[in-house]
């Protein structure tokens, strides 16, 4: 006597069954959302409708799979749908941030004066054909440059210490550097303010802001640098020692050149991390709308501070300028980040 054979289960992810279930649930969700939002529920906005559609889709999809397959399959598939939706939401947020900034900011960026003028003689109500971010660009370049000059040698030397020299201190240093990456920007700014302005009597300046940025940048450079150095194959070091090199020669001629692109990545990531930091700059650099190319004396504006100042005017043109500067900042971050990734990938292959 043979048992009645069940229909053979197809284990491939995409087949006629699974695709048709997806399509059915999708069509159902879209039509239901359309009917309800147009006729019944007071859903006027795209975002709410999308949210409602997603929930409907998940429910319909579960019912669809459960009715044509099994309860187990339905649970599996609904879980997959939920995880996929979470992933898509995350990337939708990224796309929304980037595209919203681009849409609101591109008009300001298109004017030549945006790049060649300051807002020293421009009021917040003036049209976009007047005023620009020149002072902020100069300030950001100088502040981030000084921050990099301070934190890159220090961070890379610390990374070399952690990975090449080591010792009893290494564990403590690693823990503290980790903790440092968690210091809020505002606290870093407050610290520099307490030291430079309150204790040393130094005025607010681009240099003070640069030191605050360096504090934020140091842990990024150190941690990334350490990871990169750890990727240098051990046999290379052993070969260098076997040929009679001292440790310094090994590090200088073998380890650092091997890790060079990776170390550049570490620096780029550090710069990308701090170039848009507003909180540390807020307390330390002071604000002036005028071009001040001297980071050591007097207040100096930077791109984040420019955005922060302009956006608080309740006037369309000022806000457009803020979005223009935000677009510049975002573009720089994306370019730095992409460059860092491309370099990092070259290292791997």
């Amino acid at each position: 006597m043979t048992a009645p054979t069940a229909r053979r289960r197809r284990t491939d992810r995409w087949n006629a069954d699974t695709v048709s279930q997806l399509v059915a649930a999708g069509v159902g969700a879209v039509s239901l959302t359309w009917v309800l939002s147009a006729r019944v529920l007071p859903i006027g906005r795209v975002a709410e409708a999308a949210l409602f559609g997603m929930v409907t889709f998940v429910v319909l999809y579960g019912v669809c799979v459960a009715s044509s397959d099994s309860w187990f399959a339905a649970r599996d598939r609904v879980a997959a749908a939920l995880f996929t939706i979470a992933g898509l939401l995350l990337f939708a947020a990224l796309v929304a941030v980037v595209s919203f900034t681009a849409v609101r900011g591109y008009q300001a960026v298109l004017h030549i004066n945006f790049w060649t003028e300051t807002t020293a003689t421009t009021g917040p109500a003036d049209p976009l054909t007047k005023g620009g971010v020149l002072a902020a660009l100069v300030g950001t370049l100088e502040q981030v440059g000084i921050a990099a000059l301070v934190s890159v040698p220090l961070g890379l030397a610390t990374a070399v210490y952690l990975n090449e020299v080591g010792g009893r201190l290494a564990r403590t240093v690693r823990t503290v550097i980790d903790a440092m990456s968690a210091v809020p920007g505002i606290v870093a700014g407050l610290f520099v303010f307490a030291v430079a302005v309150l204790t040393l009597g130094y005025s607010r300046s681009g240099l003070a802001a640069a030191i605050a940025l360096a504090i934020e940048m140091l842990p990024v450079v150190t941690r990334t640098g350490e990871v990169v150095l750890r990727l240098v194959p051990e046999p290379l070091r052993e070969a260098a020692y076997a040929l009679g090199s001292t440790q310094w020669q090994t590090v200088r001629k073998v380890v650092l050149p091997t890790a060079r692109t990776g170390l550049v990545t570490a620096v780029l990531l550090g710069v990308a991390r701090v170039i848009g930091e507003t909180a540390p700059v807020l307390l330390t650099s002071g604000f002036t709308a005028e071009l001040n190319a001297d980071p050591a004396h007097g207040p100096q504006v930077s791109l984040p501070l420019f955005i922060f100042t302009e956006v608080r005017f309740p006037l369309d043109h000022a806000i457009s300028r803020a979005f223009g500067a935000a677009l510049v900042l975002l573009t720089v971050v994306i370019v730095l980040f992409t460059a860092a990734r491309l370099l990092g990938r070259k290292k791997l292959s």
Binding site: A47, A86, L154, G155, V173, L190, Q247, L282
Partner: protein
């Protein structure tokens, strides 16, 4: 036959001067990096001391900010900070968990490196850009959500009620909206930590689960999630640490109200970082010292949260200790 009486060559390595200088330099750099953290704590404490001497321990329990009469403390702003960070986690943890499982388990394999990079990029987007997006894009979309929550759940849950509910501005600039925006900002942090731990789930146990007839969901539920539990907790805590310190995005969105926030949907709240950002330019004397004391509280609080997170996450990683 006796060997020629050459003295045995000494091979115990003695460092060259260059080596000694090298080790000394990098060790010095490490100590310098180490001391920066110590200096932050010491200077904040020294500068906060005048204010702390005025208020004593009441600094932690006073909910008002009247430095002129010596009656000030961080209770209200600390509560606001924790409230906004808590709302942020309510947004960030579910999305981050789902997204990290999706990247680690479901996303097409050839896309995963790119997705990981995109998450990292999202973490690198400056907070002021999130602030602009939150104020001009998210807020108008969230006000109807706030209103809906308040009207439908408010009768049952009193803390969701809102005064003057007729106008939209009663719902704007609230702790809820700031929390949601900060939530989006910390999602990438949460996601990348969780994904890293999930992707380390042992292949053998995954395959065993599949071989026993488990679905992909069963693998996730019985292997990946239990294995990555420390990553879930640690990632959430790191996200919390990020959310606690967030300044500009919150500053741009909230309207500062110096009182304990009891109604998160109602316009107006305050956080420690926003307090410092608002008052630092116009304060002096004891008031300024009070701001530094508030900064010290924030500093110690984030350190505590992140140290906890580091302990939890490290428990799941193998040794990374140099000898």
């Amino acid at each position: 036959m006796t060997a020629a009486a050459t003295s045995r060559r000494e091979i115990a390595p003695s460092s060259t001067p260059a080596d000694k200088a090298f080790r000394g330099t990098v060790r010095g750099a490490a100590v310098l990096a180490l001391s920066v953290m110590g200096l932050i704590g010491v200077f904040l404490f020294l500068r906060a001391l005048p204010a702390l001497q005025v208020t004593g321990w009441r600094f932690l329990t006073t909910a008002e900010w009247l430095p002129g009469v010596g009656h000030f403390g961080v209770a209200a702003v600390l509560e606001g900070t924790i409230l906004i960070a808590g709302i942020a986690l309510l947004v960030a943890v579910p999305v981050g968990f789902g997204a990290s499982i999706w990247i680690a388990e479901y996303a097409p394999r050839h896309l995963r490196p790119a997705l990981v990079s995109l998450v990292d990029l999202m973490a690198a987007v400056p907070s002021i850009v999130y602030g602009l997006w939150g104020f001009f894009f998210v807020q108008p979309h969230l006000i109807p959500v706030s209103r809906w929550l308040s009207e439908n759940l408010g009768p049952a849950l009193p803390f969701l009620r809102v005064d003057n509910a007729e106008t939209d501005s009663s719902f704007a600039s609230s702790a809820f909206i700031a929390g949601c925006v900060v939530g989006v900002m910390v999602v990438p942090t949460v996601t990348s930590i969780m994904r890293e731990v999930f992707s380390q789930a042992p292949t053998g146990e995954r395959e065993a689960a599949l071989a026993l007839g488990g679905t992909q969901w069963a693998v996730v539920r019985r292997v990946v999630v239990p294995f990555g539990r420390s990553g879930i907790i640690g990632g959430s805590m790191l996200g919390l640490g990020r959310a606690l310190g967030e300044t500009v995005a919150v500053y741009l969105i909230i309207s500062p109200v110096f009182a304990v926030t009891t109604h998160p949907l109602q316009s107006g709240t305050h956080t420690i970082s926003a307090l410092i950002a608002t008052l630092s330019t116009e304060s002096s004397g004891v008031a300024l010292s009070g701001l530094l004391a508030a900064g010290l509280v924030l500093f110690l609080f984030t350190l505590l949260v992140n140290a906890g997170a580091a302990v939890v996450v490290n428990r799941s990683r193998s040794g990374q200790v140099t000898g």
